[in-house]
């Protein structure tokens, strides 16, 4: 059971990384084009957005699941995406574990992936260091 939970978490973490990479690459790659009859899109203004996604495949074994993400967008080369909640990783009592809390930051040409430190990861690190 412990092993299977680990596998599930690893799978979710991988999916989260792929998601953020996909979002990051698509935000960064697009060159906006003006459209007749529409306001010229050019650049988006800087904004912070939180969205809820409900989709098949976000749950276990292809089931429907949900996730909530925050995008702090400055421009196409400077933004940060944070996974706030995931239906497969419910935060109990404010605890953040697993993939929840991970961030993907694009700063110019640098991309930085960060996973929020959990009690377990701190324990592992300190045990290894001592």
């Amino acid at each position: 059971m412990r092993l299977s939970l680990s596998k599930v978490r690893f799978g979710l973490a991988s999916a989260g990384v792929l998601l953020t990479i996909a979002v990051a690459s698509s935000v960064a790659a697009q060159v906006p084009t003006p459209q007749p009859g529409m306001a010229p899109p050019t650049q988006w203004p800087a904004f912070t957005m939180v969205w809820l996604e409900t989709a098949a495949g976000l749950g276990r074994n292809g089931a429907v699941g949900t996730q909530r993400l925050r995008l702090e967008y400055t421009d196409q080369r400077h933004f940060r995406i944070t996974l706030l909640d995931h239906s497969e990783e419910p935060g109990a009592g404010g605890q953040k574990q697993g993939i929840v809390g991970t961030t993907w930051t694009v700063d110019g040409t640098r991309s930085i992936y960060k996973r929020r430190e959990t009690a377990r990861s701190v324990y592992r690190r300190t045990s290894r260091d001592s």
Partner: protein
């Protein structure tokens, strides 16, 4: 479709509006919805034929006679700056994905 999260890029709304058969609906509160439908063909079935004299039998993999899927995509965005607020994807009339923006705050650069 270019990427699962192509709705999150500047200019995507304009790009979608240019798609063949796109319908544009002007809603309330300065929101515009663009809907596009497309037919997605299943991948072809591959038949593997063993070499003459081989003990293996012929077999195939793939969806076989799976039906084509009709995918409808609806993107709602703010007319003023084209920031998307909602994305709904339906496959054969069944909703398979929904993205709803819950909070949006414009910032100074």
């Amino acid at each position: 479709m270019t990427s699962p999260d192509d709705w999150l890029k500047p200019g995507f709304a304009a790009e979608l509006t240019r798609a063949l058969g796109a319908s544009v609906t002007r809603g309330t509160a300065g929101l515009i919805t663009v809907a596009v439908e497309e037919t997605v063909q299943p991948p072809p079935t591959v038949v593997v034929t063993p070499a003459p004299g081989s003990a293996a039998s012929a077999h195939s993999f793939g969806p076989g006679a799976a039906a084509v899927t009709r995918v409808r995509r609806e993107v709602t965005y703010r007319e003023s700056d084209q920031i998307p607020m909602r994305v709904v994807t339906l496959a054969d009339g069944k909703e398979v994905r929904r993205v709803e923006v819950q909070e949006l705050q414009l910032r100074r650069r």
